[in-house]
Symmetry: C2
Subunit: 136 residues, 2 copies
């Protein structure tokens, strides 16, 4: 996901181009780690002092809803990052030191779905946590 594509999606859904949305998208596009709302606010307030909780949270929710950002829960806090470019379904290894991620091409649902006949499957979560080679 890049900034231009994100704006295409926002415009198509009737969202306006504002300076704060620009700032948020720029930050995410140049940082490929998972960030919390507070991380985001802290980093942004250095360069753009007027950025409120409301603006951050509201736009994060909008972006996740439109598939621009993806979200996961790590140690009790919501974390966000740019949605992956990959057009094929995949999952993530997440480094608990530096926060960087690595795509895992396999999806366990092919195997597991067969074990659940008569069940209606809505979604699934598969994540691996540990240390990346650089942090080890």
């Amino acid at each position: 996901m890049n900034i231009e594509k994100a704006w295409d999606i926002l415009k198509q859904n009737g969202y306006k181009e504002t300076s704060k949305r620009t700032q948020i998208l720029e930050l995410f596009s140049q940082d490929d780690r998972y960030l919390t709302a507070r991380d985001l606010l802290n980093v942004m307030q250095k360069d753009y002092p007027s950025m409120s909780f409301d603006t951050v949270y509201r736009n994060l929710a909008t972006f996740v809803g439109l598939g621009i950002l993806e979200e996961t829960e790590l140690s009790g806090e919501r974390h966000f990052r740019m949605q992956c470019e990959s057009d094929h379904h995949h999952h993530h290894f997440i480094c608990m030191d530096c926060g960087k991620i690595k795509e895992i091409p396999v999806c366990p649902m092919e195997m597991a779905g067969a074990a659940l006949p008569a069940y209606e499957i809505a979604s699934h979560k598969f994540e691996i946590y540990g240390k990346c080679p650089a942090c080890k």
Copy 2:
């Protein structure tokens, strides 16, 4: 996991047998769904009016640490349930209506681990969400 086994573990680790721990274990052993701390408190205060947040949270943490309860994060809240009996590693389907779970015998780590040479894997999470046959 049954109540006797839970007490064995607690005693072995020097924890005392208190009425509140008894009440908590009884509740979990007769409800196989994931419950939040508040669920637990609400249900328990009907029968045992003197049950505080502190007692609930502290004992939940103790029980999870000892492997008596297992924990997961659903829609931003921590949920708890009795640790499964199964001696082999497995994962869960969770019904988003009734909260009941079904064990899934497969684990994707056998496949995925191979895709991460040089990575140090600490843990992983694989859960499937949807509706069980009864709720569909």
